[in-house]
Symmetry: C2
Subunit: 401 residues, 2 copies
């Protein structure tokens, strides 16, 4: 079997954890499997590098940021190879150039285009464990790119797809995907299985277990994922196309505090205004999430939407600068908000989830400020202070004890 | 003009120093010059990385050590590009892959084979300052290699040669090459000029201003070097083929404490024994310096030689293991020794330097344990505790106040 195993930054944060990961990989290797390991940068390395950069140039070019950040994973993989060597197993580290992992040109947010497998296959054939830098690639200029935060998951899935791996295991500091954040909802349960689509909604919505692009790619190439803990032997959660429904409407409740609400007030009620607003956001690389447009009244309308908290300031600036062009009377912003979502493939064939959710929130006195839905998801925007209470109430409503 | 400027680790140790280096490079850029900057890893980064590696695997493979160490310069160059950008100058960082700098395959001690200049020329043509990682290269396997400690000097000279640069400036924390270490000899003087050959002897002998391979390469390709301080505007020392002799016999006095003496005692006085001893050293990559062989007596002879202090243990182990093969009765080692050398092209046409040196040492009561000479150098091995006293005495003897 060819197994791709991905370990995040906290799993390789220090010597002991590196040794622990080395041992776990060697277990599979000793069973005769081919093992490819994908690593993130150690612990808080990426944050530390970003701080160094911001100190020198707060507006550093993304090309140079990627050059800087790429050192983080290169450090991890080299140390991991040394750790495995010290345990008597032949291992080799490879960076984005060496593999090579070709991406698009966009720095800090590149997408994989093509992964060469020749070098990896060659090293596997000589019975080495191959340790690959996550998160990074090279573009057509031979420049280093990064895939954006959490991109190591995507590296693992892309490698699993390119190598036609038999398994792709994503190791993290939790034991799998839960029906809600266990720190907030004590009776949250670990799921045995979840569909790609459900996982996608959960990842996008802040469940923080898997990077959503990795799930999209896994779905596209049919790579079955296992999410499991690097610290315990527990079985984890399998992410795949179709799962047994277990008669549950809802597979999980996700909360996301990384959101801010922008309101553009008093826009002229004429065609093309909404387009102008969101075109501005797109032109400045600001992702817009839940969108709400008021019904026109007195010839004006309001548009509100959510963005990541980190993008709020940018969004505000851009809108203020273009206030006249978009015919806005005033711009408001609020970052004391949060999203709570229920996700479940069962929703598609079942009504009443929305009303059940709203009822649960009403019962604990939580005010709903915006609502957004998809086939398998209902999201509400609420005040940030209510988020734990709301998560527990919705979880209790739908997930049987 | 095309100028290659190399800055060592202490010149880029923190934000302030990085900004300072950026400013100095921009000064030349603003005069219309093309500027290529070669950087080492920041401050003690390389030592810190080596410690991390040693903690995980004291016998780490050199291939993985090089993979690890190469992150140090990549960090420096990315931050430097950001610093220059923040000052409004377009800059780009390039690592060994991107340049590309091809080396031999020997990890941790690679030699340059070929440097592609296309990418650098292209970036210079678009009026960018090009910042290149020192110390590293790539080999035929696409693996990262390093040139050994101080290798960034070699990178600078190799780039200057490949690019046919008009100047190659090596910035350091001293103002140039001195007639002796100014911390030991207060009246040591900065030299205006020195020949490649003199510089080579001084570098090899522990003057620590320039890496000797960089001087060899500069000599080979006729790259004129300037050694100067990154902290002051002082003029520095020019290293070139022929200098005005200024009627000085001796250009400098170098001391080197990084030496240990090994004595192999009671060897059979027959052909091939010395060969066996030094073959063993070569096979274990131990560089041997000053060699002394006693005259045979009673059918036995002794061989003593010096090695770097860090190699002493290895040398002892290897010799003990092969004691019978080399017919040694006993092996002794002493690391409380030091070398003091006088260097000067003037020696070639002048006698009396050796006797003058020995006289100066005798006058301050320093015992000479070994002697070694070349055309332009005389080296003595003395007790380590005498090294400062000896350096001052020899300097006073030859360098006019």
């Amino acid at each position: 079997m060819l197994i791709v195993k991905k370990f995040g930054g906290s799993s390789v944060a220090d010597k002991e954890r590196i040794m622990n990961v080395a041992r776990r990989c060697i277990e599979d290797y000793n069973k005769g499997h081919d093992v490819v390991v994908v690593l993130s940068a150690m612990g808080k390395t990426t944050d530390r590098l970003l701080e160094m950069a911001a100190d020198i140039n707060p507006d550093a070019k993304k090309r140079e940021l990627d050059m800087l950040l790429a050192t983080g994973e290169q450090t991890s993989v080299a140390l991991m190879a040394m750790a495995m060597d010290s345990m008597g197993v032949s291992a080799i580290s490879l960076n984005a150039f060496q593999v090579a992992m070709h991406t698009t040109s966009e720095y800090s947010n590149a997408k994989f285009k093509r992964i060469d497998t020749e070098r990896i296959r060659h090293e596997l054939d000589s019975r080495k464990i191959v340790i690959v830098t996550g998160f990074q690639g090279i573009n057509k200029y031979d420049d280093l790119t990064t895939l954006g935060r959490g991109g190591s998951d995507t590296t693992a899935v892309a490698l699993a797809a390119a190598l036609h791996a038999d398994a792709c295991e994503i190791y993290t500091d939790v034991e799998g995907v839960y029906t809600a954040d266990p720190r907030v909802v004590p009776n949250a349960k670990k799921m045995k299985e979840i569909t790609y689509d459900e996982m996608l909604e959960l990842a996008t919505l802040g469940a923080k277990v898997l990077h959503n692009r990795s799930v999209e790619m896994a779905k596209k190439y049919g790579v079955q994922l296992v999410v499991r803990s690097s610290l315990t032997e527990a079985e984890g959660t399998v992410v795949k196309e179709v799962v047994k429904m277990e008669q549950m409407l809802i597979s999980g409740v996700a909360a996301d505090k990384n959101t801010a609400r922008i309101a553009v007030i008093g826009l002229k009620d004429e065609p093309g205004i909404a387009f102008k607003v969101f075109n501005l956001m797109a032109a400045h690389n600001i992702s817009v999430d839940v969108i709400l447009q008021s019904i026109g009244r007195d010839g004006t309308k309001d548009i509100s939407f959510t963005v990541a908290k980190t993008d709020m300031k940018d969004a505000l600036n851009v809108l203020e600068e273009n206030k006249d062009r978009i015919t806005a009377q005033r711009i408001e912003a609020d970052d004391k908000v949060a999203k709570v979502s229920v996700v479940g493939a069962g929703m598609q064939t079942n009504t009443g989830v929305a009303s059940g959710m709203f009822e649960a929130l009403y019962n604990v006195g939580v005010n709903i400020r915006m609502i957004s839905t998809s086939d398998i998801r209902i999201t509400v925007l609420i005040n940030e202070e209510d988020v734990d209470k709301a998560t527990r109430a919705v979880h209790d409503k739908f997930i049987p004890d």
